[in-house]
Symmetry: C2
Subunit: 209 residues, 2 copies
């Protein structure tokens, strides 16, 4: 940011009084411009023992496989946004149950929060949206693990198939860190069904970026 | 927004090609400015059978009681943000367990998402930060229910004391709607321990704004 969006004066990056972080400040119209993380919302669209994946038609990770997800918009809930993105990217209608909230990821290095919901395909009508090259139903054994676009997607799919075996789908929150050597590590920071023996167990997985 | 923060040209509010919503667009430097919901993160700081509440020293809702919470910042996780806000607003150090994620609220009418974590006070040293007039530990029977600042805070405290009786703390997601007649309604849209008989049960509570 260089210019004030309200009055076009030059912005100054400084710490406002009573604050402890540098912000873009306009001393002409006395406005402070805060910058905050954005939410990305999506679903795991399930049909019988299969999940729906989209092959990305755009960068980043063009040609890799992902779950339908995108930026949450003003005026919608995270769940509404996830359903909208599923329609936009996979051409799919989904139904939602009352325990749909599933995984949350903090990505502090890129200022994003991902939220995934479990969803069921309403029918077998789906088609690639403008950001997808291809949309396919995958059984667990056929998942293209080495071709998954993002660590948040891989972790969510792994958890889904693991939880499916027990029939219990706890809500899990992770922090994903992108390191300087281009590796990415995922740390579980909260889970809704944590047993007392597991309370201090922390899972960390490093994958190449 | 009137002026481009990059080049100070006049912005135009229009739907970009391939999009379906109006955005602030700069035709001078070809930039689209997206506006997205912001996250507010906070804790329920617990000590024995009591919770810590802050009396607001600032608007909105000056003089009303709230849980320590504030806008999530770039570069931090939601949990780190919640711990930071607890220090800033209540002067309190907290410890977190592995099942700390507790309530999530979508507030689509004001473009916010609230996330609360359960936390335990590390000690009895706490003091009002710059945005608080007073910080007090409250037993359930003493909670000033009619003086709670926000519906998200009231719902979180109600759920906490209810769950405390069973020892089970499911993660719950709500949507909060602000209506034209100044009432506010809170709808449960997802909970991690939903029983099959409860799957279609929806809770809606209307409170005055």
């Amino acid at each position: 940011m260089k210019y004030c969006p309200n009055c076009s004066a030059n912005l100054i990056l400084r710490t406002p009084e009573g604050d402890n972080r540098a912000r873009y400040c306009c001393d002409s119209c006395n406005t402070i411009f805060y910058q905050n993380p954005k939410n990305v919302v999506g679903t795991i669209p399930v049909y019988e023992d299969k999940i729906l994946l989209c092959k990305r038609a755009i960068e980043p990770r063009k040609g890799k496989w992902t779950l339908p997800a995108g930026f949450m918009e003003n005026g919608e809930s995270s769940l509404e946004g996830a359903i909208r993105e599923t329609k936009e990217e996979a051409g799919a209608e989904v139904t939602i149950k009352s325990d749909s909230l599933y995984t949350l990821f903090n990505l502090p290095t890129i200022n994003q929060v991902y939220i995934f919901f479990r969803a069921e395909l309403s029918n077998l009508e789906f088609f690639p949206g403008i950001e997808s090259e291809e949309v396919l139903l995958y059984k667990e054994r056929d998942i293209p693990w080495s071709e998954i676009a993002f660590p948040v997607v891989k972790t969510t799919i792994e958890n889904y198939f693991e939880d499916r075996r027990t029939g219990s789908f706890p809500v899990r929150m992770f922090t994903v860190n992108h390191h300087r050597d281009r590796t990415v590590s995922t740390v579980l920071i909260s889970a809704s069904d944590v047993q007392s023996t597991d309370r201090n167990r922390i899972t960390e997985k490093a994958t190449s970026s």
